[in-house]
């Protein structure tokens, strides 16, 4: 023990850091902030450190070359001891980091921590969110597989829509006219040098300000923030009723960080690394590109925006979002902190959470995408074929062969791009079915040129059988009158 003390003293004499470190870790914090709600910032920092360590470990093997990256990932997964585990830690770490940064942001927002004098801390926090998302996207590109390749194509297609400079932006982003070696090299430089540099700098300033301004006190309903009096009130609160950060509050941070690391490790062990999916060979077109988890909401949004509004919303939406986030502490820098007295703040969070959650869920299912192999791999259920005429069965064949099944489901099987057709005969009568098949409309292609009259007749005959037993299909009452008969004739 005496030896350790001596060595410690030797360093302290030369470095002189002991006093300032002691002051930092033991600085007084408001008593109520020793709470499980205040642990997300430190957890994000812990995961960031995990990402640095695992990132360096991966860089020992990974080859940032379009020709070799995919092979080096396979080597990491299969030929290097526990390479798969390091990859899994890094991949799951990135998911956790995005999630924790978002939770931290929500907590800071609901607890009013962005108000005076912590406006700049919030602004730097917004920048940290953006660079974290930047790390997530560039990291997904470095896993240079089919998803990465076509994901870059999606990025380039969005960038190209910027007025005037769009095409230049695409060339700058790709490092050339197409996605190729130069593209991966520059995303490697961004992911490993540029963005981490920004992240470290922003984290440093963010932490410095947390120490300098003190942790946000627990918001009490009715305790109003005023620029003139806040600093004095906070000082009084921390020094009269405060406790040293270490150990009074820090033990919860330490425990939560350990728990998060454990959770990442458990996910890594049981769920394994992400990909890589197929080789990044653009001539292999049998692929359904999907972004990583944290961009699924955007992927879903892109399928719902109306074509005419898509470009303006894509380009202006993010800019508005970022400006709103940056402006928040300057617009609402004073006033009530407690979420109990800020119903609009709570509703905003709920709205954003429900929206992102729903879009993410939809992005995972992608019901708008045709099921490309439904026509050849999903047979029509046999109960839809029993006791049918030859013409109707011929129609069922047309339904399969013409790939209707790729977009329309029968008995829950098949695509969900168009409506399910199990009860279509209740909705549309014969004429309407013929018109819909031939002319399309309502987001359905017109099949008039692709179906012979005989095929159309058979297909519509099959579609007319699609209704629950005992329910009469839709029919055109006027036709019977026009034909001068008292009953509906199936076909003139």
């Amino acid at each position: 023990m005496r030896l350790i003390e001596k060595v410690g003293d030797w360093f302290e004499l030369r470095l002189g850091l002991g006093k300032s470190i002691g002051e930092v870790v033991a600085h007084p914090v408001p008593r109520e902030t020793a709470s499980w709600f205040y642990v997300f910032g430190s957890a994000a920092l812990t995961v960031f450190m995990l990402q640095i360590v695992t990132g360096i470990l991966l860089a020992l093997i990974y080859v940032p070359s379009a020709g070799e990256a995919w092979n080096s990932l396979q080597t990491l997964n299969h030929a290097v001891s526990l390479g798969w585990f390091i990859r899994a830690l890094h991949g799951w770490g990135s998911n956790f980091m995005v999630a924790i940064v978002l939770i931290h942001m929500v907590q800071v927002f609901l607890f009013g921590a962005y108000k005076f004098p912590r406006e700049l801390t919030w602004v730097i926090g917004v920048l940290l969110l953006l660079v974290t998302l930047g790390m997530a996207f560039t990291g997904q590109v470095l896993r240079f597989d089919q998803d990465a390749y076509w994901g870059l194509g999606i990025g380039a297609s969005i960038a190209s829509r910027v007025p005037v400079v769009g095409p230049w932006t695409v060339n700058l982003m790709l490092g050339g006219p197409i996605i190729a070696g130069a593209t991966l090299s520059r995303f490697f430089a961004l992911h490993v040098f540029v963005i981490p540099g920004l992240l470290i700098a922003f984290v440093g300033v963010h932490l410095l300000m947390v120490l300098k301004l003190g942790i946000n006190e627990w918001p009490m309903p009715g305790r109003i923030v005023r620029r003139a009096t806040y600093l004095e009130e906070y000082h009084e609160q921390t020094h009269k009723d405060g406790e040293p950060f270490l150990p009074y509050a820090a033990w919860k941070d330490i425990f939560f960080s350990a728990f998060i690391l454990l959770a990442i490790a458990v996910c890594a062990v049981y769920l394994g690394p992400f990909g890589p999916s197929g080789r990044p060979d653009p001539t292999i077109i049998q692929t359904s590109p999907r972004p990583d988890f944290f961009f699924l909401w955007l992927y879903a949004l892109l399928s719902f925006l109306p074509p005419s509004a898509e470009t303006p919303i894509l380009l202006i939406g993010p800019a508005i979002g970022i400006v709103v986030l940056l402006a928040l502490p300057f617009v609402a820098g004073e006033g009530e902190k407690s979420w109990k007295r800020r119903p609009i703040a709570v509703l905003t969070i709920l709205l954003v959470a429900v929206t992102l959650g729903t879009l993410t869920h939809l992005g995972g299912n992608a019901p708008w995408s045709p099921v490309m192999n439904a026509w050849s791999s999903l047979p029509i259920p046999s109960e839809y074929l029993d006791h049918r005429t030859a013409l109707e069965r011929r129609g069922a064949l047309v339904f399969q062969v013409k790939q209707c099944h790729n977009c329309h489901s029968l008995d829950q099987q098949g695509g969900k791009r168009g409506p399910a057709l199990d009860r279509v005969a209740l909705r549309l009568n014969q004429d309407q079915l013929i018109r819909q098949v031939i002319q399309g409309g309502g987001n359905m292609p017109a099949y008039g040129k692709n179906l012979s009259p005989a095929e159309t007749t058979a297909l519509v005959a099959f579609l007319e059988t699609l209704h629950p037993v005992g329910q009469t299909p839709a029919h055109d009452a006027s036709r019977a009158v026009a034909l001068g008969a008292g009953e509906v004739s199936p076909r003139p």
Binding site: W70, I154, A156, S157, V170, R279, M372, W375
Partner: protein, 186 residues
């Protein structure tokens, strides 16, 4: 005493002036260095050293593309590096309209660039990403795309089909917006 103070003040202001000159000097050098750095960074846009973009590239013999059918073809991008791996070979769809006229479509969906697939039975191109669909002539059938498929300019020469390509087609490109334009110089 007074003289000494003046000297001290003078020497301080002389050093301050030197600092200012030094900073100014750094500023000039810095500004001069911005030029090569910017030229280096912008080289993918300015393309000073590389020619050959938008070259005529062969898709192979015309016989590979029977009349009335749409077939997948691949070409090698005109500008390549040794470390590009698989990414230099790019696919496209060739439609032989009537034995005389062709249409060559980019593989990239006009919405967000995903690879569209051809379904010969229903004569449709479908996109796996957001469900864009196109008719056999490349015009938009349904879904989020604002326009039809991008088309390459083509020519038939010596029994071979050539297209003018070399740049990934994206919705914002002036090249892409000239879709449908074709030259049939034999």
């Amino acid at each position: 005493m007074k003289a000494e103070t003046t000297t001290a003040e003078n020497s301080m202001s002389r050093r301050a002036l030197l600092v200012k000159i030094g900073l100014f000097f750094n500023g000039i050098i810095g500004a001069a260095l911005v030029v090569p750095v910017a030229r280096y960074l912008l080289s993918p846009v300015t393309r000073e050293k590389k020619g050959g973009y938008d070259s005529w590239l062969s898709l192979g013999e015309v016989e590979k593309f029977p009349a009335g059918q749409t077939r997948l073809a691949t070409y090698r991008n005109p500008v390549v590096n040794a470390w590009d791996g698989d990414t230099d070979d790019i696919a496209c769809w060739v439609r032989n309209v009537d034995g005389q006229n062709f249409q060559v479509f980019a593989i990239n969906c006009a919405h967000l660039g995903c690879p569209v697939r051809w379904f010969a039975q229903s004569n449709l191109f479908m996109c796996p990403c957001h469900g864009g669909a196109y008719y056999q002539d490349g015009s938009r059938a349904s879904g989020p795309p604002e326009r039809g498929l991008f088309q390459y300019t083509y020519k038939v020469e010596g029994g071979n089909l050539f297209i003018k390509a070399g740049e990934m087609p994206t919705p914002g490109q002036p090249v892409a917006n000239k879709a449908g334009e074709k030259t049939t110089c034999a």
